[in-house]
Subunit: 334 residues, 2 copies
């Protein structure tokens, strides 16, 4: 099992997973590999020190604490699970065993709290023990800051920052050169100017069509993000749009009206790539301050060839993001 909630494709500053941070984490892990091979059977003796973060949306609760027998810290990640809807679960869920407590009743509407049998109401639980400070920081809720970047800011702040970072995108080149993950490729247009490789995003297990999430990575090197796009890239963008839609239709029988195609800005790695998700997939990363529809990008450039070299772009950065520091130092953020 890899570190939970870590996406190996996401090697940017946005998670804490720069390759260096990952190496350090690996090292910390190795140092502790002699400790606690024990398996937990319950939370007996667990003492909660602190709530690291909680979310009403994902129904999660991240705790820092310790087991009584040890001064070492444990991080416990709790997340409510989606309902299973197989016959056996439904039979148990919708039975005499599920007790109801009335909240309000008005005419045909009854609002209750129900208490299903324990076994059909499990909670996804990850225990990291012993946890390092790095783990603790990772799961602490972080303040987000909305930053508006003019093109000048891009040139003076963002681009130098990206160039200084040691964001290896060798893994992307490996995919493009078929040295890795070639078995995952769904479709390829090998053209060096307008071509791309289409494959599933790591976040998608390939099972539920509603959760479909693919990535189309351009073959052409040197295009970092939508900031680099102008009218000479219209053929590339239209080629990706049309051929991806066709490939998804063929492979997954999902039509163009059910697909959302977009770029992230900021991106999590700086080799131009398009996200393709099912319209019903409300995954993180589709919010308006992060996702830019491919069709909007094409039309903006058609309306104004240097649109992305003129327009300010607004995005959220986490408190720990090095880029936020740079915007602060430049006096662009409070």
């Amino acid at each position: 099992m890899a570190a939970p909630m870590k996406n190996k494709r996401d090697n940017s500053k946005e998670n804490d997973g720069t390759s260096q941070a990952a190496k350090k984490l690996k090292l910390a892990t190795d140092l502790h590999s002699d400790v606690d091979e024990n398996v937990l059977h319950d939370f007996d003796g667990f003492k909660v020190d602190k709530i690291l973060s909680e979310s009403a949306e994902s129904k999660s609760l991240f705790l820092l604490g310790s087991f009584s027998e040890s001064a070492k810290k444990a991080v416990v990640l709790l997340e409510k699970k989606p309902f299973l809807s197989d016959d056996l679960t439904l039979k148990s869920l919708m039975s005499k065993e599920t007790k109801l407590k009335l909240g309000l009743k008005n005419d045909i509407y009854g609002a209750y709290e129900s208490f299903p049998p324990v076994e059909v109401n499990g909670v996804k639980t990850t225990v990291i023990y012993p946890a390092t400070d790095k783990h603790i920081n990772k799961y602490k809720s972080q303040v987000l800051h909305l930053v508006t970047e003019s093109y000048k800011d891009y040139q003076n702040i963002t681009l130098p920052y990206l160039n200084e970072q040691d964001f290896s995108i060798q893994w992307v080149y490996n995919i493009l050169e078929k040295k890795a993950e070639s078995e995952h490729i769904i479709y390829e247009d090998p053209d060096p100017e307008v071509g791309f490789v289409l494959l599933p995003d790591m976040k998608w297990d390939g099972q539920k069509i509603d959760a479909l999430h693919l990535i189309a990575i351009c073959h052409k090197r040197g295009l970092k993000s939508l900031r680099d796009l102008n009218k000479e890239h219209i053929p590339l963008l239209k080629n990706i749009r049309e051929k991806c839609l066709e490939a998804v239709k063929t492979k997954y029988a999902v039509g163009r009206e059910q697909l959302r195609m977009y770029f992230h800005y900021q991106a999590s790695y700086y080799q131009l790539h398009v996200h393709v998700t099912h319209l019903r997939n409300h995954a993180p990363g589709i919010q308006t301050e992060k996702a830019h529809l491919l069709s909007d990008i094409i039309e903006n450039i058609e309306l104004m060839p240097d649109y992305y070299q003129r327009k300010s772009l607004t995005f959220a950065l986490r408190e720990s993001d090095g880029l936020l520091d740079r915007f602060r130092k430049a006096g662009k953020v409070e």
Copy 2:
């Protein structure tokens, strides 16, 4: 209690709640008001006919079924609840009573399923009984269609459709004229050209700051949506932006960097209004095919005064949406 999950402000076609539909529903409710004043204590005898919809994201499951003693249909809405994090709940949750079942263990990482005591793991449950076909349709999962509307399509398809609909926005005028909800108003600029009223959205309970959701409604009548905006509205847009940010800072101590200000397109009612949400609020309606950042709108118009009379706009419509029908009839959607 109002009809569950119904937002009284949302009187458009997007939910099924046009004012007429609401009236019909009210009527149906009245007709059934003599039936079943009984309170449920468990789901004994409940037979599941059908899963209406389920969501892994919101961890919900909507069921259609019946109680054995009756041929009448019941709709049951189940939704996992966020964790409570008060001391008493934590004590019960992180105890010997919560059993753990190991999934995978690798070094310091252990993935489990945990089974908390029944009483701290309740499920939000709404029972609608007897349920009408209208209820059943409302909670059935609906196919979404992505539609791209040119300005010509707006003039020829969308605008005539909106004008034909009997979307009463009297309730909006009531707010603007202080005939209703005046006690909720957080801030007002009474200027007839650039003024607005700021108040909490119905979806926000006013409690958790992370979930902050306010609405700024323009005083100026006749501005339906961002389609109507051009350079003469820049003072209005900038006034809303600056004064809202100031008001939120004063009232809630939340700074401009933590706030997302945006318009919906399509909107749920056609009197121009801006949404103000906390950046951490990942509420429905912030996705890129629906939400348009106020700052982007201002800048697009500054770059191109007739941007919103030239640019195509892409949005998702539900299968049941009358507007989708019109786009279909015009041959604009498959």
